[in-house]
């Protein structure tokens, strides 16, 4: 049954429709109320659930229509944070970098309602989507905790509580993203310790997305990150991280990025399929998950769809090849 092989998914975010981008701008200027904005966010979420089903993705996401940024969204909902001014991330892209100004705590769940809403729209599984404690710290200014480790461990308890709430709400897949995990390779043990706090006792499949950094600097130590699946940007790097697996065998499930999300142009199905074949040299087809390199929020809706279609079509090609290979 090749349908169970190479399950397809995405990293989390999609391009927002124009009406939502405009509405978010209006809301930021106080010209649109929170209720009206949320209605549009729910509409856009429903559209993305339908698109993902139409494209044929296997494990869905809510698309993060209600988030601007993967750290600021949580910082805005946690006590102890304040939202800082605009800082450039690259090119002409800016984000409000949060400030940890006091002891952090979680007044109430932050993502559960959105997970439940998205899951109510589809019979396919929807992933619960969280940002990991190390990245929450690394992408914020720390004015409050004496050390980075102190801040990371405090944030780990918050992310743990949110993950448990998602699991109680029915999430079978919980993704705890750590794109900053290789920012300071000397701190990999702190990130691993923190993730241990987050995932302890969870029965859901746990996933961590890592992208845009020196993965080689934390490999193979990152295999100790207590999650079931690592979710890696590969296409952007010409799949060079796979070479690391020759020296130290890879031991987890692998979500493999097969289309670059920071290019307007989408790879051909043949190119994307070749990416899957490269991954299959190291990870068996039941443990290899094709997907785009990263979240698609920097792309338009149309570009996001194109890239997801390439992932699904490439997967079909390789599944057919696998079906022809005698067991």
């Amino acid at each position: 049954m090749t349908e169970n092989l190479l399950p397809t998914t995405t990293v989390g975010s999609f391009g927002k429709p124009d009406y939502l981008t405009k509405a978010r701008g209006q809301a930021a200027r106080g010209k649109l109320g929170a209720t009206e904005l949320e209605e549009l966010e729910r509409k856009a979420t429903a559209e993305w659930i339908r698109r993902q089903e139409d494209i044929g993705l296997d494990v869905l996401v809510d698309g993060e229509m209600y988030r601007g940024d993967m750290v600021a969204y949580f910082a805005e909902r946690l006590d102890g944070f304040k939202i800082g001014g605009l800082v450039r991330s690259y090119g002409n892209r800016y984000y409000h970098k949060p400030v940890i100004a006091g002891k952090v705590s979680r007044p109430k769940p932050m993502t559960v309602d959105w997970y439940q809403y998205a899951q109510s729209l589809t019979s396919k599984p929807v992933k619960g989507m969280l940002t990991g404690p190390y990245t929450l710290l690394d992408w914020s200014y720390n004015e409050a905790y004496p050390t980075r480790r102190d801040a990371v461990l405090a944030l780990a308890e918050i992310v743990r509580d949110e993950a448990r709430d998602l699991e109680r709400a029915g999430a079978k897949y919980i993704q705890i993203d750590e794109p900053a995990i290789h920012a300071r390779p000397e701190e990999i043990e702190v990130a691993i310790e923190a993730m241990g706090i987050v995932t302890a006792g969870l029965t859901a499949k746990t996933i961590s997305h890592i992208c845009y950094g020196d993965f080689a600097a934390i490999y193979p130590q990152v295999l100790d990150l207590p999650v079931d699946q690592l979710d890696l940007a590969m296409a952007n790097y010409g799949y060079r991280w796979l070479d690391l697996f020759d020296r130290d065998p890879y031991t987890k499930e692998l979500a493999i990025g097969i289309v670059d999300v920071h290019a307007h142009q989408t790879e051909s199905v043949a190119e994307a399929a070749e990416g899957i074949r490269k991954g299959l040299r190291y990870v068996s087809a039941d443990k290899l998950w094709p997907h785009p390199d990263c979240g698609l929020k920097t792309r338009t809706v149309e570009e996001s769809v194109e890239k997801c279609v390439a992932v699904v079509e490439a997967t079909k090609v390789v599944r057919k090849e696998l079906a022809k290979v005698p067991a």
């Binding site: 001014g85 605009l86 800082v87 991330s89 690259y90 200014y141 720390n142 920071h262």
Partner: protein, 326 residues
């Protein structure tokens, strides 16, 4: 007590009126304005940024690198034999850059930054310095090299191109030029290669500063003291460092000391800045110490960057025994 900035200044502020460049770039991408209009915006933002640095009382400014996407971008765009490649994190920052891809012999006419420097020199009332990327940083952050056979060859080729840029800037009137080269402290195993590269940069008539940041200079501090540069920049805030106890290694060079943390919003007090300076002054004469932010202020929101500069200047005045305005 001397003060200077390093690297890029925030290109936009938080108020809508301070986001003209962001809007202009979006409009250019949509084809609503052309390059000439965008250039006007770049120039105006440069003028405003230099003005903010001068208003804070900083002695030496730069052109604020308003046109730079990242430290390598201007060179990767302008040099033949180089293309801009994959997106990558810039060291331990949540800031990203396009890694260079080398497709052939690196060559430049040496005029990559001349236009920007000339504009800034017409605007700045403070002392003005230019800046280029360092050869080791360029070479070590390259994603793919289809031409040079080794990191040594690539670093020295980058050094030759940077030497041409330095000569071009010097011809345009630059007398002080920062060479921003964090790889010298991030990859200390290449220190002798870096020294060989810097031997190709030295020239008469202008002062070169080897500016490092993000990582402590501990592994290479004494080596840096023998580089053919007039100024060495070191970051004493990003990580623990033994540098304060070893500054006497710099027997003739100026030290550009990064004492205000340009990567955290927590504001230093003037007294705190002064304490860092006084620690340095135990082993370094005041005439060879320059206080600075640790790195580019672009890692901060613009209002915080301004406040950091104010703290830097007030701290410097405290050291000098000047009265700090209330």
């Amino acid at each position: 007590m001397r003060t200077a900035v390093i690297g890029a200044y925030p290109k936009i502020g938080d108020g809508l009126e301070a986001q003209e460049l962001r809007r202009a770039l979006h409009r250019r991408d949509r084809g609503e304005i052309g390059d000439a209009e965008l250039d006007t915006v770049y120039d105006e933002v440069t003028r405003a940024a230099i003005g903010e640095i001068e208003a804070a009382g900083i002695e030496t400014t730069n052109d604020c690198q308003i046109r730079w996407d990242d430290l390598l971008g201007p060179f990767a765009r302008a040099w033949s034999g180089v293309e801009r490649g994959p997106l990558e994190r810039f060291y331990d920052n949540n800031t990203y850059f396009r890694q260079p891809v080398i497709t052939g012999p690196i060559a430049t006419d040496g005029r990559t930054l001349v236009r920007d420097y000339t504009f800034a020199s017409g605007v700045a009332k403070a002392k003005l310095k230019a800046a280029v990327c360092g050869p080791l940083t360029f070479a070590t952050l390259t994603s793919r090299d289809d031409h040079y056979r080794s990191i040594e060859d690539r670093t020295l080729a980058a050094a030759d191109a940077i030497a041409r840029e330095i000569a071009g800037l010097a011809e345009a009137g630059a007398r002080m030029i920062d060479i921003e080269d964090p790889a010298v402290v991030a990859a200390p195993q290449h220190i002798e290669l870096a020294r060989e590269a810097y031997a190709r940069l030295a020239g008469a008539g202008h002062a070169l500063a080897l500016v490092t940041y993000f990582f402590p200079p501990d592994a290479v501090l004494e080596s840096l003291a023998s580089f053919p540069v007039g100024v060495v920049g070191i970051d004493v805030r990003s990580r623990d460092t033994t540098a304060f106890d070893r500054l006497d290694a710099f027997r003739t060079q100026y030290v550009l000391l990064g004492v205000v943390d340009a990567r955290n919003t927590r504001l230093e007090t003037a007294e705190e800045v002064a304490r860092y300076a006084e620690r340095a002054l135990k082993l370094l004469p005041q005439e060879r110490l320059i206080l600075a932010p640790t790195t580019s202020l672009e890692y901060l929101p613009r209002d915080i960057a301004r406040a950091k500069l104010a703290a830097l200047v007030e701290g410097a005045r405290l050291v000098s025994g000047e009265k700090v305005p209330a």
